[in-house]
């Protein structure tokens, strides 16, 4: 076939080989699509690991707080345990305004000559606000005198604001809305770089969670407050669940302030407590778009929210105390009776028992070490639940587990149903997450707020004549995500939140047409150089490392679980049993079979796992700690965040040291909370490990370090320890076409 002409020879060759070409193309395409699907799968479960651990940390925080509340309610006033922690519940102490002003007075704080940071004058000017941004970009720190001044001015302003900001996109102004920043200054600087700083032409709404986890929380606050002062009609701040001093104790903000401001940190924190409580709860744009931090529930009512005394909710985790006024006009706290019945009724009414969330039910409450400790209250709860069980048909029995009441536990001094309802409104607003199914159920994963469904969104929007809800609170890989038929937009502005390359950040621009226009970004030059595969791989390795640590920290429980499956004590369990046992202990709802090859590297024959061998793999060891009992060490490790939180609570003057006596008391507290025996001898052993100065006081940081309880690379529980990018990275941005 074919003639001698070269061209047609070529053609001929082409036609018979075109079949091969197509086959070759298809082969490569098939391979590529497989690779993409597998990478996506890995990305998804890596994400799930981080998120599960993050949320269970939040849950642990709330449980701890409830536990402390229980102590407050049930120990006699003179008991040691109560005294140790009572100060964190003495929320509005004896002062009146004049006394507060004296306490926060900055006038006698001198700014030394050698101070090279920015100087501020009040009323603040635009130049000074912009100058502040520049100074922070150059790693300067604002002097405590100016910090206090700035915060005082902010406090004054916030007190005049309504609970719900109402703004409009008149004059063709586009409003820029940002989500969680979590102390990541680099992201804020990137947003300002791309979008411009706040000004009369450039209004901004910041949707909460400015602090915790990242290492520049105070700088972010100072920038936001500075612009608020300079452009009060063009900068709007919504409160987030992390604008809460109790949460800050655990997630790093308290520590950051005390480290940066060693002399005046405590006052700054106290003032911030007030400022947080005065932050507005939500913002409405053009009467059509609602912006708030967490979300809604089926009982959320903007009318109620507009009327509450928002500032009495210093922490959203606890209903406000009833206040009496003595003859001297000084308010004191009172502990009224626990009104558990009222609370439980509220929660029963609210929850509709629908299908559980996808990816399984989050039965995290079964974790023995964080279990509810209160038998007395459980009995009450069970009676209540029994009564309501008889009254209302329950569709999904698993919701009615007795552990549920830990959400309900923080119930003291609630004087009426209205007060409870108000508190619930705020809790829901700050802590809720959307879900795909209809209905509204308590958010057991976080421990506060609800999961709400598309039907609740629909109903809410109709009732209030709105068209869109913009919220934050959840990290999203692309920096944003629509759900509920695009009626709910989640917006997250902290890029690389879990690790370098884990996610982008985003902000939204809204013009008079109210159509959201989204801009994404990712801070740090490192991420631009990583390919998708490298980025996923890196985050995955990080997640797996964290997961291995968590597994090790639960060694005793896991051993117990494995032994149940291994009645003949062979040291081996099947894959299936391994996966079941691990999930029953960890409650992270992860695809354990899929992760197995990454978590268990010791050889296993015929689909079994040698679990003792596995624990040897996982072990965390350190020479300093060899004399400490292994199981105590494991407990320390597992509860390190809780432990540190308690230490910081006990350290009433925020000095970073606690006395030997308080140290012992703390352990007694912890042993009750964890329901485990910690002997005096064991406590002495612990103290000896750190005792370098023999002066009867324990340095908290040293303690945590000594037991390798701090992990500088683990971002999830303690915030970043490395600044992600450097100034030179930011200047590189100028010429970068990718921005």
């Amino acid at each position: 076939m074919g003639c001698g002409v070269t061209k047609s020879n070529h053609l001929h060759k082409h036609t018979t080989s075109s079949g091969r070409a197509i086959r070759a193309a298809i082969l490569i395409q098939r391979w590529y699509r497989q690779y993409v699907a597998r990478t996506e799968m890995r990305r998804r479960y890596t994400w799930h690991i981080f998120q599960s651990i993050e949320y269970s940390g939040e849950q642990a925080q709330i449980k701890l707080y409830n536990f402390l509340g229980y102590l407050m309610d049930n120990f006699t006033p003179s008991s040691n345990e109560r005294n140790l922690i009572s100060h964190i519940f003495r929320e509005n102490e004896v002062c009146r305004d004049a006394e507060w002003e004296r306490y926060f007075c900055y006038k006698n704080i001198e700014v030394p000559e050698i101070y090279s940071g920015p100087h501020l004058t009040f009323p603040l000017t635009v130049e000074e606000a912009v100058g502040l941004v520049e100074a922070f970009r150059n790693k300067k720190q604002l002097h405590s005198r100016y910090v206090l001044q700035l915060l005082l001015e902010t406090w004054k302003l916030l007190r005049m604001l309504p609970n719900i900001n109402r703004i409009s996109t008149c004059h063709s102004k586009e409003i820029t809305i940002c989500g969680d920043l979590h102390g990541q200054l680099e992201d804020l600087l990137l947003i300002f770089y791309k979008n411009g700083m706040p000004s009369l032409e450039k209004p901004y709404v910041f949707n909460g969670d400015f602090v915790d986890r990242g290492r520049d929380s105070i700088e972010i606050l100072l920038i936001l407050f500075a612009f608020l002062l300079v452009y009060p009609s063009d900068v709007y701040l919504n409160r987030g669940n992390h604008e809460d001093h109790i949460v800050n104790l655990r997630y790093g903000f308290t520590k950051e302030v005390l480290n940066k401001y060693k002399m005046h940190g405590k006052r700054i924190l106290k003032l911030l407590q007030k400022i947080f409580s005065w932050l507005p709860l939500a913002t409405v744009i053009d009467q059509k778009v609602l912006v708030l931090h967490g979300g809604i529930s089926d009982s959320t009512d903007l009318g109620v929210l507009a009327r509450v005394d928002r500032h009495i909710y210093i922490s959203a985790l606890r209903p406000p105390k009833k206040r009496h006024h003595s003859l001297a006009g000084i308010s004191i706290d009172s502990d009224t009776d626990v009104d558990t019945a009222a609370i439980s009724r509220v929660f029963q009414r609210r929850a509709s028992f629908t299908y559980p969330k996808p990816l399984g039910t989050r039965d995290c409450f079964q974790n023995r070490s964080l279990q509810d400790f209160s038998d007395r209250i459980r009995v009450n709860m069970e009676n209540q639940l029994e009564l309501s069980r008889r009254e209302e048909p329950i569709l999904n029995a698993q919701i009615n587990k007795p552990e549920q009441e830990s959400l309900i536990l923080s119930t003291d001094s609630v004087s009426s149903d209205t007060a409870v309802d108000e508190w619930k409104q705020i809790l829901d607003l700050l802590w809720s997450d959307p879900m795909t199914q209809d209905g509204c159920i308590p958010n057991e994963v976080r421990g506060g707020g609800c999961y709400w469904g598309p039907d609740v969104t629909e109903d809410f929007l109709n009732r209030h004549n709105l068209q869109l809800i913009i919220r934050s609170h959840e990290c999203k890989q692309e920096g944003y995500e629509f759900c509920h038929n695009r009626k709910v937009l989640t917006l997250f502005s902290a890029s690389n939140y879990y690790d370098v390359g884990s996610n982008r950040g985003a902000y939204v621009k809204l013009g008079p047409d109210l159509v959201p226009y989204l801009i994404q970004y990712q801070a740090s030059s490192m991420t631009r150089e990583l390919t998708v595969r490298q980025s996923v791989g890196r985050t995955e390795r990080s997640a797996l490392r964290v997961l291995r640590e968590q597994l090790f920290a639960h060694k005793s429980d896991l051993l117990c679980a494995f032994r149940k499956f291994d009645s003949e004590n062979t040291g081996l369990v099947s894959l299936n049993d391994w996966a079941s046992a691990v999930e029953s202990v960890m409650h992270l709802d992860l695809p354990w079979r899929m992760l197995r090859s990454q978590l268990v590297t010791c050889k296993n024959s015929e689909g079994t796992i040698d679990y003792y061998g596995w624990f040897n793999e996982l072990a965390i060891t350190g020479s300093k700690t060899d004399h400490i009992d292994q199981s105590l060490l494991e407990t320390l490790y597992r509860h390190r965040s809780t432990l540190e939180t308690i230490f910081r609570i006990v350290d009433t003057d925020n000095s970073g040291f606690i006395s030997m006596q308080d140290f012992r008391q703390t352990w007694k507290l912890l042993s009750v909370y964890l329901k485990m025996e910690i002997t005096d001898e064991a406590i002495s052993d612990l103290a000896i490990t750190i005792d370098s100065n023999h002066d009867g006081s324990i340095d908290i940081d040293e303690f945590m370090e000594a037991f390798r309880l701090t992990d500088k690379k683990s971002r999830l529980e303690r915030g970043r320890s490395m600044f992600m990018g450097t100034t030179s990275d930011l200047t590189k941005l100028e010429g970068d076409p990718n921005i």
Binding site: R30, Y32, P591, M594, G607
Partner: protein, 153 residues
């Protein structure tokens, strides 16, 4: 060639777990348009066409709205698993087609054109991601190394 490998119970458990991860609704089912990706995540590499055939050539509407459970999925997975997957040699021979000079390289540019115009076409981003770091300074791809690379992931 029809290989008659049965899945072991352990493998089936693995598949079940992965299947569950794709269920975004909570009804223990997945949408038709997710089936191809689940199979790929489980180590298969079917063409979209072959998956559609197994699904009964669903319409666009079906793909988006119809769902199936694991018991219906498993035999489909088996059927796909029986198809030849492509060995190292298959890939190398496939790429050799484009090796004009017979020197072990193909022109990156030509590969890009082929992948975007033939078979189940890839878009620009997909091709960029695939080819990232594979072309040398002359724009050539050393395909044996390339295949080793893609099979190692």
């Amino acid at each position: 060639m029809h290989s008659h490998t049965e899945f072991t119970p352990d493998q089936i458990e693995d598949f079940k777990e992965a299947f569950g991860l794709f269920d975004r609704v909570g009804d223990s089912q997945v949408a038709y348009n997710q089936v191809a990706d689940i199979m790929r995540a489980l180590g298969q590499n079917p063409t979209n066409k072959s998956v559609n055939k197994i699904l009964g050539n669903p319409s666009a509407d079906d793909l988006a709205n119809k769902r199936l459970n694991f018991d219906a999925f498993l035999p489909m997975l088996k059927e796909v698993d029986a198809q030849p997957k492509g060995t190292y040699d298959d890939y190398v021979e496939g790429l050799r087609v484009f090796d004009k000079e017979g020197n072990g390289t193909v022109m990156g540019a030509e590969l890009r054109i082929v992948l975007s115009t033939l078979g189940e076409k890839m878009n620009e981003q997909e091709i960029d991601a695939l080819m990232a770091g594979q072309e040398d300074e002359n724009g050539s791809v050393h395909y044996e190394a390339f295949v080793k690379h893609i099979m190692s992931v």
